[in-house]
């Protein structure tokens, strides 16, 4: 039980850091940015490259990767998204896939398709019957710090308020003198940097591969959808709900419950739970839209 609880928190942390970036860009620019997943992978690879420099501590490597990925995200906006601000949300979504395809292939060209493993010192801790590592603690603490920091930035600073004003009504905010384009760049930097940290944490826990994007994609978008797309901290709640649902559904012994023989949902079916959660939320939304209320 404690073990499942810990696993859920750790997994939710990894997903949440990536998911808030999707919500952040959705709230301001109103489109689902699929290239965001690739930014997480880029972050993972940059961390891997920086960590290869002798004597550079892992924390610094992750920070440098976050800054680098933030700059890449801003560059993508300057080169691509800033030129298509006027087109439909579907159009932007399709373009974001084009960007994702490009980044994914270039990563394979540069780093090759084979898996990279991070050399992170990690010790096993045993509390009662639960087993976890110091790396798990780092992941959770790092996420908590980032989320509190992001919350403080959005709700306690003038720039953060301006960003929220843009998200709630772009035209009105710009008319009132808020520098829209400059803040959009800042938003891209933030979501890129957060994605990089999330991607690095994810890669440290598993292995780094260009195909890691398919592993992250569904849970991240399920978390964002559960949280309501444009609500930044809704995405964190979404990640928690999804992670607990996944881990507990796999942990519960359905066999004994219904048939008398032990049977569990196989762990490969994690993604099914993500898509199922996505579908349930969409069905609920669809029902609400039909009722005419929001």
């Amino acid at each position: 039980m404690l073990q499942v609880f810990i696993n859920s928190i750790v997994y939710a942390s990894e997903i949440a850091v990536i998911a808030v970036g999707v919500s952040l860009s959705y709230s301001v620019l109103r489109f689902a940015n699929f290239a965001h997943i690739q930014l997480a992978i880029v972050g993972g690879y940059l961390t891997y490259s920086f960590a290869a420099i002798p004597g550079l501590p892992m924390v610094i490597a992750v920070l440098l990767a976050a800054i680098g990925t933030g700059i890449i995200a801003v560059l993508i906006d300057v080169l691509v998204f800033s030129r298509i601000r006027g087109i439909s949300a579907e159009g932007k979504m399709i373009v974001s896939w084009g960007v994702a395809l490009f980044i994914r292939s270039m990563l394979s060209v540069i780093y090759g398709g084979s898996a990279k493993v991070f050399d992170v010192p990690s010790e096993v801790i045993i509390v009662q019957d639960a087993v976890f590592t110091t790396l798990d603690i780092t992941v959770v603490v790092a996420t908590a710090v980032l989320m509190v920091g992001l919350h403080a930035f959005l709700y306690r600073t003038r720039t953060g308020s301006a960003l929220r004003a843009l998200a709630s009504n772009y035209d009105l905010a710009v008319t009132r003198g808020i520098p829209g384009e400059r803040l959009i760049r800042l938003m891209w930097f933030l979501s890129g940097a957060l994605a990089a940290v999330g991607g690095s944490l994810f890669a440290m826990q598993t292995r780094l591969q260009p195909s890691l994007d398919l592993v992250i994609l569904l849970p991240v978008f399920a978390a964002v959808t559960i949280g309501g797309m444009s609500n930044v901290f809704g995405a964190v709640i979404g990640a928690l709900v999804l992670s607990f649902a996944q881990n507990f559904l796999i942990w519960i012994d359905f066999g004994t419950l219904f048939f008398g023989e032990p049977w569990h949902i196989p762990t490969q079916f994690r993604d099914y739970i993500a898509v199922l959660a996505l579908l349930i939320v969409l069905l609920l939304k669809s029902g609400r839209a039909a009722g005419g209320k929001r």
Binding site: E90, I94, W97, G98, P266, A274, L279
Partner: protein, 291 residues
């Protein structure tokens, strides 16, 4: 050399049908299907599973052509009244779930190893069937495009509320289009299964969907002849990159990745500089009272 030409034309014909199918959904109706590979995969696996159970080929054909449209309804009906972001997510999720199911059920679909499918008797037969399918699909898509039904699809694409005020139910049109388009893609998938002689989960990833998208965007969303040309351009780039690989002596997976990067770049550049595609959709005027 002639073998290679036959092979290339067959591949182009199959992918053109997929592009026509996506064009019906996105180009004409505005449905953003990010799981376009799903009906194609269903068709291929129907052929493969029928073969692995020892059934004759036409069982696979019927299975694929029935299951794909049924699934399209299962996917589109929950998504009604929602914006295109969600429709994109649902189709993407459905396609990935299907791929993962095939990967995780070795008893049914061979798992990661895939299934063997009996090949067509000769490459020329494969070519003829693929071309016949393309011709039928093309004339069907043209017929839809020119009919009053097709005009209403464009109204729905531009403005669903307007379509409703004209007394039409958008979801019924969208569902009809999905059923037809998914059957088309399933037929392409069945042909592909018997053409390649082998189906495996790696052939049906998100990347494949985006190759189809690139073809449609390059060719010109809304124009059937445009998307066929788009599919031809993209697939020719694909097959010719093998020659480039031999010529410049680089590893083939490096070339494959550079090719995909080029597709991504083309998709983005087309959207920025020529969103109407190589062959733009014609602007048409109709008198509503007389239709």
């Amino acid at each position: 050399m002639i073998d290679f030409v036959i092979y290339s034309v067959t591949v182009i014909a199959i992918w053109s049908v997929l592009a026509l199918s996506l064009n019906l959904q996105f180009g004409m109706t505005g449905l953003v299907n990010f799981g376009q590979i799903l009906p194609f995969a269903i068709g291929s696996y129907a052929a493969g599973i029928a073969a692995s159970f020892g059934y004759p080929w036409w069982i696979g054909v019927i299975g694929g052509l029935l299951f794909a449209p049924l699934l399209s309804l299962a996917v589109i009906l929950p998504a009604q009244r929602l914006s295109q972001d969600y429709w994109a997510l649902i189709t993407l999720g459905a396609a990935e779930i299907f791929r993962l199911t095939m990967l995780n059920t070795p008893s049914l679909a061979g798992g990661a190893d895939g299934l063997n499918v009996p090949r067509f008797g000769s490459p020329v037969l494969a070519l003829c069937i693929a071309l016949a399918l393309l011709v039928v699909s093309f004339f069907f898509a043209e017929r839809v495009s020119r009919s009053p039904f097709g005009r209403m699809l464009r109204v729905i694409r531009e403005d669903e509320v307007l379509a409703s005020t004209l007394g039409r139910n958008p979801i019924r049109y969208q569902a009809s289009v999905s059923v037809a388009a998914w059957m088309m893609a399933a037929a392409a998938g069945i042909t592909y299964g018997h053409f390649s002689g082998y189906v495996a989960p790696t052939s049906f990833t998100v990347t494949e969907t985006f190759i189809i998208w690139t073809a449609v965007i390059v060719g010109g969303p809304g124009r059937n002849i445009g998307v066929v040309i788009g599919a031809a351009v993209i697939q020719l780039l694909g097959v010719s990159s093998r020659f480039v690989a031999q010529w410049v002596d680089l590893p083939s997976d490096l070339i494959a990745n550079l090719r995909l990067a080029a597709f991504g770049l083309i998709l983005v550049l087309m959207f920025i500089y020529r969103p109407q595609g190589l062959i733009a959709e014609k602007r048409e005027a109709h008198n509503v009272d007389r239709d």
